[in-house]
Symmetry: C2
Subunit: 157 residues, 2 copies
């Protein structure tokens, strides 16, 4: 029985690797995971942020986030992969648990839960899938399992 992975499965692994690198605070892995092609600019939108473009700006933003986060864990749900040729789009929900610096030595800082939806684009380079863009945004409305209603933003395209 073949153990060869489909394109979709490979893309999903690359998507998971992106979040695991953030969890580990692994800047080297981040540099390896993002597309490195002078002809194809990468871009990144963190939730609530403006657009960041180019490897150096994007990787610097992750380094900043990882440096200022003592603890972060992503529980990815509702992951869907759409492949067309050498490009793939992943949409998923990031259920994020993160913690700030502890107030007392040896304790974990206060944990914050966050619900973010992401669209991540990948390009096939050889037999690897590299991150072309990440766009994450806060879910403010329309959650079925919402305990308390968030801000009900005016929908716009």
């Amino acid at each position: 029985m073949s153990t060869a992975r489909t394109d979709s499965e490979q893309v999903e692994l690359a998507n998971t690797a992106l979040y695991e690198a953030v969890e580990r605070g692994d800047t080297v892995a981040m540099g390896r995971l993002w597309l490195d092609d002078p002809d194809t600019a990468v871009s990144c939108v963190h939730p609530g942020w403006p657009v960041l473009r180019g490897r150096s700006e994007v990787l610097r933003s992750y380094a900043l986030i990882m440096a200022s986060t003592d603890y972060i864990q992503f529980f990815l749900t509702d992951v869907e992969v759409s492949v067309a040729g050498d490009t793939a789009l992943v949409t998923c929900t990031e259920n994020i648990l993160s913690g700030g610096p502890a107030e007392e030595e040896g304790e974990l800082g206060p944990l914050v839960g966050q619900l973010v939806v992401a669209t991540n684009a990948f390009r096939r380079v050889g037999d690897e899938w590299k991150v072309w863009c990440h766009h994450g945004s806060p879910v403010l409305a329309g959650r079925d399992e919402d305990e308390e209603d968030g801000e009900d933003g005016e929908p716009a395209a």
Copy 2:
């Protein structure tokens, strides 16, 4: 002198057409602009919304937005196109001016300004570029020209 457009220029026109269709409330144009390929699912995230997937769900959401918006205009700035093969990513800032229903007959409803950043993916189909995904999100922090500070969300990947 050739008037042939580059891939980038064609993609930018397709991106503009997407917003113009919303401004006109043109559901027929929307259906034509979005990718229609049973093997490649489309997806859409409106600002603050969860992920919508598939043509029927995406187009229905636009129909709902257009039906509930009396006036909407997009001033696109900071438009950047990244092309790789038959796929293109557009990142841009949507400076949105929208209006609700008028309180009095013959008057324009109250106008609301909104700042949204978008990542839009396009696929080349024949000699056209079709929308594969749209992801728009509110800019909550980091605006230079901000008159009043928005919510300063905790950045997360």
